[in-house]
């Protein structure tokens, strides 16, 4: 399993870094685990990258799991239509 650990300030400032981390993780053959433990909230830019990644994972029938998602982030993901 490939684990991508999100940093506390994952967002617009480090968005390209996050994008490439997810891109690499998707290319890996095994399933992806996103660790949100350090994240208190996300911004729109980060969620967009996540949405795009989730869509591509779905297309390749690979699963993307999340752990350490707090209530605020859960609500944010919900607001953006990620179930």
């Amino acid at each position: 399993m490939t684990v991508v650990t999100l940093e506390e300030d994952t967002g617009i400032k480090k968005i390209r870094q996050f994008q490439s981390a997810l891109r690499d993780a998707i290319r890996a053959p095994d399933e992806v685990m996103l660790d949100f433990s350090a994240v208190r909230r996300l911004d729109c830019a980060a969620v967009q990258v996540l949405l795009a990644a989730a869509r591509e994972m779905r297309e390749t029938s690979k699963s993307m799991k999340m752990r350490g998602v707090n209530e605020a982030v859960r609500n944010q993901l919900y607001l953006c239509g990620l179930r």
């Binding site: 996300l42 911004d43 729109c44 949405l51 944010q76 607001l79 953006c80």
Partner: protein, 701 residues
């Protein structure tokens, strides 16, 4: 189920309980009866549990205190006197006000009542206990009132919006904080592939319907800094929601494509593409998968969603007063009685006329049966919605106990008579509470036992053999048989050295006042509950059994009849009286041989049937009537089954089977548990219905 839905259920339920409470408290003033105290305790216990679920924290805390007082009364620590009755009545009034949302006088009244409680209990609590009217308690009741506005919001952002330091998600969160989204669509069609996307650009837009109590300017203010150079549209659509026919999205049947796009699985563009290339006789779902826009799993998810929405549409379209349905069913019962009367007359006519009349009656009979099935089907509703209300309960209660528990629901589409559904809510709540409190172990304990940290409670419903089964299963530690035994011995239910099997031990859990919990928990442990479960379920002509495996978990299995109103019954005659035995309970009927009848110590008279001993019940003895035959080998025997036991009921004659519309027997007519009701026969005679479960219970005493 939404919060308002839960509150509404609670509101209805509590009103009934409060009415019963008042009568019982007044009865207590007249005579100090332990049964009444027990009942009062249960009522407050139920109120406590449901108020907790519905979010009335102040009612929850308060009823917990009253429950403690009643527990002390039960154990003889507090005397029943005027002072106690005053306190109880005052508490009842306070709870009533708090539930109705009347918080003007509640704070002071509550403090005074708590002070009285403390005096009775001999405890002193900090006088400065916060009055939580403004909190979870007072709020919900007001929320049920009107005063909501609905706004349709479209929020599309410039792709360079991030550059100006604006986070659209933050704006959406601010909007969400104003109320609740009753519809939410996120347009992700512009979102490029991960590799192709410029992550510093904004690709998302939102279409939402917000339900809020805030005025329009508050909604406008959220978009203050973006409305000029972004695509923001706000429309007040309150009128659409308050009209006679609400235009709510979720009450309309949705198409599969719409669901897939609203869940973000499919983009609008992809959907248009699929729809344009859709050929005749080809299914949309299949094409979507074929084109690789969604996986089979996504599709299944969307289909399930569609099914759910459809169910919601179906159930929400039935708005008939249940009393009218009951009335209809009763009238139908009268028609059936009339029919059998005509049938009897046909028997007495000359052959030709009788034949003609009977033929005409067959046709009528078919129609009435169909009619009856139709009425019954109106009364049947899926159990799903009432199961859903437990999700919040499981979540909140498990968190309060520091446990991690997931509630899984299976068979929510199983249909059951509305009356039955209404009445199983309470017992189910008790069983779930029990599973949370005693069943599932704390996360650490689970891990060291090699289990997942998260516990699982499964609420399952299914049809089997003309009954509905509802199971509450947990994957916890199972019943500790050793402790159960110790406790039973300490309470004098069992003697040391008594040999009992596990099933018998488990049945002790249903005795009033029995609990293995070490301490009284917030949720359970006072030993009230499981006996309520049993009593409530039996009053529905159902039964409950427990299955427990150490380390693996416990399953409560409730068996319920499909309906309470009609049974398929076998008419039997004993002397001049006619009795009805529910067909579902009958295993076989036979004439016993003289040599098979014995008397066994502690079991009484038994008949040997294929190597098994069946207790013989002489109905005429039980009901004090004169039979035609008093020797079992001359009479017939109907073998009935209840749970694990079988008994043989001795009768004079089998008259035939018939659909029976049950008329209830008031308590003062019969105190015998062996009877569950009565029916009127075609010739106007009354036949009593035998309650096989009650009969077996009565015999085992």
């Amino acid at each position: 189920m939404e919060d308002a839905g839960i509150r509404e259920v609670f509101y209805k339920e509590s009103r009934e309980i409060l009415d019963n409470l008042e009568a019982d408290i007044l009865m207590l003033e007249e005579m100090s009866d332990p049964d009444v105290v027990n009942r009062l305790f249960r009522y407050f216990h139920t109120l406590k549990g449901s108020s907790g679920i519905a979010g009335y924290k102040n009612v929850y805390e308060f009823t917990h205190k009253i429950e403690s007082v009643l527990d002390r009364v039960r154990s003889g620590g507090i005397e029943v006197n005027r002072e106690l009755v005053d306190l109880l009545l005052g508490s009842l009034d306070w709870v009533r006000e708090a539930i109705a949302g009347d918080d003007v006088a509640s704070g002071e009244a509550k403090q005074a009542l708590i002070a009285k409680t403390n005096v009775l209990m001999g405890t002193v609590e900090p006088a400065s206990e916060p009055v939580s009217n403004a909190g979870a308690g007072g709020e919900p009741a007001r929320e049920i009132e009107v005063g909501y506005r609905y706004f349709r919001v479209h929020a599309g952002f410039r792709d360079d919006v991030f550059e100006s330091g604006i986070d659209p998600l933050l704006i959406m969160e601010d909007l969400a904080a104003l109320g609740k989204f009753v519809d939410r669509r996120v347009d992700r069609s512009k979102l490029p592939l991960l590799t192709d996307m410029d992550p510093e650009k904004c690709y998302l837009s939102w279409d939402l319907v917000l339900k809020t109590k805030q005025p329009p300017n508050k909604v406008d203010e959220v978009f203050l800094f973006v409305k000029d150079d972004n695509d923001i549209l706000i429309e007040d659509i309150t009128a659409m929601y308050t009209s006679e026919t609400p235009v709510q999205d979720h009450s309309e049947e949705k198409k599969l494509g719409e669901i897939l796009t609203s869940k973000g699985i499919l983009t609008e563009q992809e959907l248009t593409d699929v729809l344009s290339s859709l050929e005749k006789n080809k299914k949309l779902g299949a094409l979507i998968v074929e084109k690789g826009y969604a996986t089979d799993k996504d599709l299944q998810f969307a289909l399930n969603e569609q099914e759910k929405i459809k169910k919601r549409v179906e159930t929400s379209t039935v708005r008939v007063d249940t009393e009218k349905l009951d009335g209809l069913l009763n009238l139908l019962g009268e028609i059936v009685i009339g029919q059998s009367a005509i049938n009897r007359i046909a028997d007495e006519l000359d052959e030709e006329k009788g034949f003609q009349l009977k033929n005409a009656l067959y046709g009528l009979d078919r129609v009435t049966r169909e009619f009856q099935e139709q009425i019954m089907s109106i009364r049947m509703i899926p159990v799903g919605p009432s199961f859903e209300q437990f999700r919040r309960f499981v979540r909140d209660s498990s968190q309060a106990l520091g446990k991690d528990i997931r509630l899984e629901i299976e068979g929510g589409e199983t249909e059951l008579d509305k009356t039955v559904i209404e009445k199983i809510g309470d017992p189910l709540k008790h069983m779930i509470r029990n599973a949370i409190d005693h069943g599932i172990e704390p996360p650490g304990e689970r891990e060291s036992a090699g289990k997942e940290r998260m516990g699982r409670i499964m609420l399952r419903a299914y049809h089997q053999e003309g009954n509905v089964f509802v199971e509450v299963a947990d994957d916890g530690g199972g019943v500790n048989f050793r402790r159960l035994r110790e406790k039973a011995e300490a309470m004098g239910i069992l003697k040391q050295g008594d040999e009992v099997n596990e099933q018998k031990l488990l049945s002790i859990l249903f005795m009033p006042g029995f609990s293995t919990a070490e301490k009284v928990g917030e949720l359970s442990g006072r030993g009230v509950g499981m006996d309520v479960v049993k009593t409530n379920i039996e009053s529905l002509r159902g039964s409950v059994e427990i299955d427990s495996h150490p380390g693996k978990g416990t399953t409560f299995r409730v068996k319920l009849p499909l309906t309470l109103a009609i049974i398929e019954g076998m008419l039997v005659r004993v002397g001049g009286s006619i009795y009805i035995i529910p067909l579902l309970s009958i295993v076989e009927s036979m004439q016993p041989r003289r040599e098979d009848i014995r008397t066994v110590k502690e079991k009484g008279e038994v008949v040997q049937v294929r190597g098994e001993y069946v207790t013989l019940v002489r109905l005429y003895d039980l009901f004090g009537i004169k039979p035609e035959f008093s020797n079992p080998w001359e009479s017939l025997m109907v073998i009935v089954e209840s749970g694990m036991s079988r008994v043989g009921i001795m009768i004079d004659e089998l008259l035939g089977q018939q659909q029976i519309v049950i008329k209830s027997l008031e308590n003062y007519i019969s105190r015998s548990r062996a009877l569950s009701g009565a029916a009127i026969l075609g010739d106007g005679r009354v036949a009593l219905i035998i309650d096989v479960h009650g009969l077996v219970e009565e015999l085992s005493k």
